[in-house]
Amino acid sequence: MILRKKTRYVMVEANDRVYMNDPEIQEALKESLKAFLGELPYFKANPQVAAVLSDKVFVVGVNRGFERNVVLALSFVKSLQGRRVGFYTIRTSGTMRSIKDAFRSIY
């Protein structure tokens, strides 16, 4: 039997270019989320940048059941590496394919 990890994907748009491919920026985002969520909920949610769709749009993979916490925490993140930035959560979905379809239809 293969156990599949159940993940929810959150499509996030930044108000400015953020270059989420950069591991340092990803690390800064994770640190900010950890600060707002707290360590235990952060490890339970395990948010990871799952895909970068453009220089402003990226996808965060979150353990199922914790996506609402991550959406809320992203509302409070207003700076990354000393730069002012805002994140808007556009869509949440259970599959990466539907997120990519939504990205193609929206942008």
Binding site: E13, N15, D16, R68, V71, L72, L74, S75, F76, K78, R84, V85, G86, Y88, T89, I90, R91, T92, I106
Partner: protein
């Protein structure tokens, strides 16, 4: 932000329309007469009472995230809206974030207890303070407002305008 970018951004964030202060609605800080559709922002009870009687005034914005019981009663009696500016919480940092969160929770509790009609708005001063509808609902739930009620109250500004 240029007009051409506002409408598509609003659609992406899950709104029918984004309303802007100074363009779609004005903010009245003193006892002046409203010229177009306006919202009052004042801590002075007399200014609030006089302002809410004007037909062009659609509601009240709290000053320093505080509203007395008399203020809330005045909003309800005049059949106006009480606006809850969510970005005042998300766009504050450090100590002011803790303080504003506590103040906002208290304000929301008073609003729900007195059954004043309210509308959730972002009142974002800059693009980083904007929020999607999904974020507004989550933040409202965090503050103690049921998601269905939050969703309904997000459309009230558009109805009033």
């Amino acid at each position: 932000m240029p007009d051409a970018r506002v409408e598509p951004l609003g659609k992406r964030l899950g709104y029918k329309k984004l309303f802007r202060v100074g363009k779609d609605v004005d903010i009245l800080e003193g006892p002046a007469k409203a010229k177009g559709k306006s919202i009052i922002r004042s801590g002075d009870l007399e200014v609030i009472a006089r302002g809410l009687k004007q037909a062009a005034v659609i509601g009240l914005l709290p000053k320093n995230l505080y509203a007395s019981k008399r203020t809330l009663d005045s909003v309800r009696e005049n059949e106006k809206l009480f606006f809850i500016p969510l970005s005042e919480v998300t766009c504050s940092e450090g100590v002011s974030l803790d303080g504003n969160l506590a103040k906002m929770r208290k304000l929301v509790r008073s609003i729900l207890m007195t059954k004043v009609p309210f509308a959730l708005i972002s009142m974002a001063g800059s693009s980083e303070c904007l929020m999607s509808s999904l974020q507004m609902i989550e933040l409202a739930a965090f503050l103690g407002i049921e998601p269905a009620k939050a969703k309904e109250s997000m459309g009230k500004l558009g109805e009033a305008l």
